[in-house]
Structure formats: structure tokens, C-alpha cells
């Protein structure tokens, strides 16, 4: 009797538990945000030197949205990040595949990749300015470099880590090298590539502000830089929050794509 009820209940349980658990997580997230805002307000009212409170910042944000600056800045920054990021990952994927698949390519490329990986992209900025002037090119280039370097390594790792037995399984079914590459290596390394893209996006976004220090006319980083000159902390906060929100949104989008494309993976 007890056994029967237990059996009858069990299939429904995981389905019911999953949403309630995520609802709980979301609730906790909200609580955390509220606590953060309270602490922030407290710090501002106690009078930490010049620190604007949430309301002040919200008002500033309203202002910047109303006069269109925030949108222009955000679009300018987004464009740089997206162009740099797309070019970077677009190049990183074939290069990573070449390095993972051909020992010769690996031998030739690895020293450069490993070397430039140890240089923070920001350190390239002076060089980029001297070589490329102060237009859009050096900014996009630095972001491109940051995105490229972080995704090339994980693509390469993904290709190297493809399970040998899967390759052998394809070979014994009569697959040519080309088929193995397209039908086994590419899908098997997709999870790595997507992780690399997320890391790449993170570092592209992270490089943005510094890249916009290069004599920009607009952009979130530029705006914050300007605000710094006038001790305009509220604008700096608006910029920071905008960067955070946009970065988070893009990361979630990629995460969603990752879930879609790699839902075949066994997750523990």
C-alpha cells in the first residue's frame, strides 16, 4: 500500500520540484538585490564621500535616457563590442580547429597564441594607437584581440579533447577524414567553442571601457571617463550599471544558445 503510493507519486515529483526550486532561487536573487540597494542607500545617507544613492542614480539615468545620450552611448559601445567579438570568434573558430587538428598548424601558431594570451589586451592599446590612429579601428581591434585569444584556446582544447573512440567509431563505419571533421569533431567541440565564446564576450566587454579611453566621441566608457572629470559620480554609476546589464544580457543570450545547441550533453 505505502509502496504503491510512493510509486504513484515519484514521477510527478521531479517535475514539480524543478520549477519551485528555480522560483526559490529567483526569490533569493531578488532578496539579494533588495539588500544590496538598502546597503547602498545606507552608505549614501551615512555620507560616504560624494556617493550618490540609488534614487539619485535613477534620476540621472532618466535624464540620460531622456536626452538620448545613454542610448547613443550604449549603441556605440555595443557596436564596438559586437564587431570586435564577432570578428574575434569568427577567426578563433577556424584557427582553433586548425591548431587542434593539424600538428603543423599547432606548432606554428601555438607560441603566438600562448604569448599574446599572457599580454593583457589593454597593454596593446598604446601600440594600437600608434599603428592605427585614434578612430574606431584601434578600439575594435583591441576588443577583437581579447575575444579572439580567449576563444581560440578553448576551441583548440575542444578539438584536442574530442574522444578518440568517437573518431574511431566513425572511421570503422567508413568515414573519411573530411566526414570525421565535419560530423564528429565539429559537433563534439561545440560545447567548448560556446564556452570560449562566452569567455571571449566577457573579455571583449571587459576591454571596452579601456578601449574607449582612446579619444572616443561616444560610448559608455567614454561617458564615464568624461563624468570622472566633473566628479559626476551618478553618471559613472549609470555607465557601470548599463555595462553590467548589457554584459549580463549578452551572456544569458549565449547561455541560451549554448543550452539549445548542446542539450545532448549528459549533465550531472
Amino acid at each position: 500500500m505505502t509502496q504503491l503510493t510512493a510509486l504513484g507519486k515519484s514521477p510527478a515529483q521531479p517535475a514539480r520540484r524543478a520549477p519551485s526550486r528555480s522560483r526559490r532561487a529567483v526569490a533569493l536573487n531578488l532578496v539579494a538585490v533588495v539588500i544590496g540597494l538598502v546597503v547602498w542607500t545606507a552608505l549614501a545617507t551615512v555620507g560616504v564621500q560624494g556617493l550618490p544613492g540609488p534614487l539619485e542614480v535613477a534620476a540621472k539615468a532618466g535624464e540620460l535616457i531622456a536626452d538620448g545620450t545613454l542610448l547613443t552611448d550604449a549603441l556605440a559601445s555595443l557596436r564596438r563590442v559586437l564587431v570586435g567579438f564577432l570578428l574575434g570568434t569568427l577567426l578563433a573558430v577556424p584557427v582553433g580547429f586548425l591548431m587542434g587538428w593539424y600538428a603543423t598548424a599547432r606548432g606554428l601558431l601555438e607560441p603566438y597564441v600562448q604569448f599574446f594570451r599572457t599580454i593583457p589586451p589593454l597593454a596593446i592599446i598604446p601600440l594600437a594607437i600608434v599603428l592605427m590612429g585614434i578612430g574606431e579601428v584601434p578600439k575594435v581591434f583591441v576588443i577583437f584581440l581579447a575575444a579572439f585569444l580567449s576563444s581560440v584556446v578553448s576551441t583548440f582544447q575542444g578539438v584536442v579533447d574530442v574522444d578518440r573512440t568517437l573518431i574511431n567509431a566513425a572511421r570503422v563505419l567508413g568515414a573519411s577524414d573530411r566526414t570525421i571533421f565535419l560530423k564528429v569533431v565539429v559537433p563534439a567541440s561545440t560545447p567548448f567553442i560556446l564556452v570560449g565564446m562566452r569567455v571571449g564576450l566577457g573579455s571583449a566587454w571587459g576591454t571596452l571601457v579601456a578601449a574607449e579611453l582612446i579619444a572616443a566621441q561616444e560610448g559608455l566608457g567614454f561617458r564615464m571617463q568624461q563624468a570622472q572629470l566633473y566628479y559626476d559620480l551618478s553618471t559613472i554609476f549609470v555607465g557601470l550599471i548599463a555595462i553590467g546589464v548589457l554584459g549580463l544580457l549578452m551572456d544569458r543570450l549565449l547561455l541560451l544558445a549554448e543550452r539549445r545547441l548542446t542539450n545532448w550533453q549528459e549533465r550531472r
Binding site: D163, T165, L166, N168, A169, A170, R171, V172, L173, G174, A175, T179, K183, V184, P187, A188, T190, T262, W264, Q265, E266
Partner: protein, 259 residues
Amino acid sequence: MNVKISFRDVVKTYPLKDDTFTALDHVSLDIADREFVTVVGPSGCGKSTLMSMAAGLVEPTSGEVLVDGSPVDGPGPDRGVIFQQYALFPWLTVRKNVEFGLKLMDLPAEERRRRAQRAIELVGLADFADALPKMLSGGMKQRCAIARAYAVDPQVLLMDEPFGALDALTRVQLQDQLLDTWSKDQRTVMFITHDVDEAVYLASRVIVMAARPGRLHKVVDVDLPYPRTEEMRLSPEFGRIRNEVWHAVYHQAPAVPAA
């Protein structure tokens, strides 16, 4: 009796730091067309290496491996391989996995689908044809791997401890199923196992290997008629053969040190 697979004086060595490691030491073995042989032996005695040579995945250091009288040159769909670790493509459904080899054969789409369906039904996975491997149990994964190999209709089946990770019941079911299809299609089967019972139950000949260096130790004929039945497992004759194989595997004299 036609010879299907022939290992001739096969040696396989791997380089070590200062000398070489002998994985297989002068192995000669003929497997007849439509024969079912099982290979047993202690871990590391070179069973997988031997089989991989027939599959064309590993080349002998010296000696040669012939299939149908001609030297093996790489893998091919005439020799189906079933790996111990299932080796299913995790991003493909059961059906797509089974169709993988068929797609490489330039068959018309309809024929391809028909053959995949038949193989899937044969191993009893029809209800899971559109499931991803992550949704399958170990036994179902292995059955999918078997279906994938069957679908291309190889003349030779090379199976490396295919049932090793399965529970006893599933294992017995798959054994009977394998024998059943083998007796219908009469493929040549080389089946590696570490389970002496399984080795005797399936084979017409059990190849016992020894380690360090890997070599042939003994060949035990199994003079039990096919179809094999569960009662046979309890027969005195089965017991006698099992003892003989058991003894050959677990009471091997240490190897004469190589000069």
C-alpha cells in the same frame, strides 16, 4: 573452411623511455568464415590491440593481418566494431546514430531509413528511436551501438567487451540476442570478454591469451551445439569447458623472460 581473419606472426611493440614494450609477441591465429570466437585473458594481455588490428585501427609492428586473404589497410565498413565504451555520438538520436554508417554508403534515402529501422527493431529500441543517448540506460546504449554496427551489414563483427558494463540480466539477454542474429546472418564474430562464462557460452572456440608479453596461451574448442540454451550453462560439459578456460586464464605459468 575458409579463413576470414588471419593474424600471421603479429608483433606489436610500443616504444618506452629506454627500451620497447611488447604488447603482442608473435601471435598467429586464423578465424574461419562465420566462426564465433571469443578472446579472454588477463588485463593488458593485448586483446584490444589484437582486435584493433583486425579493425584496421592499429598497425602491427611486424607480421601481417589478413582479412579475406588481403592485408588490412585501415578500417572499413566490412568490419563492424563495437567498442566497450559504446562510442555513440551523443548529439545524434538513436536513429541518426544508426544511420551514420548508412549515410556514408550512398544509399537511397528510403533504403537507408528501412535498414536503420530494421536494425533498431532488431535490438528492441523502436520506442527510443528518436531519443538522445543521454536518455538511454547502459544496456540500451550498447544495443544502439550494436544496431549501428548491424545496419551497415558487416561481414565481420569485432566486439570489445561489449557487455562488460551491463547487469547480469541484460547481459544474458543481449548474449542470446547476439547468438540469435549470428545464427541467422552467419557473420564472423571476434568477441573479447573477461567473463569466462560468457566466453564459453557464445563461442565455438575460446582463445585464451597470456600477458607480459601478450601472446596466445591456449585455444579451447567448445563442442556444444548451437543454438545454445540456458540449460546448457548448467550441463556438465559446459562446466568442464569452463573449468578448462578458467584454469588457462587464472593459472598461467609466468612467462619465460624474453631474451
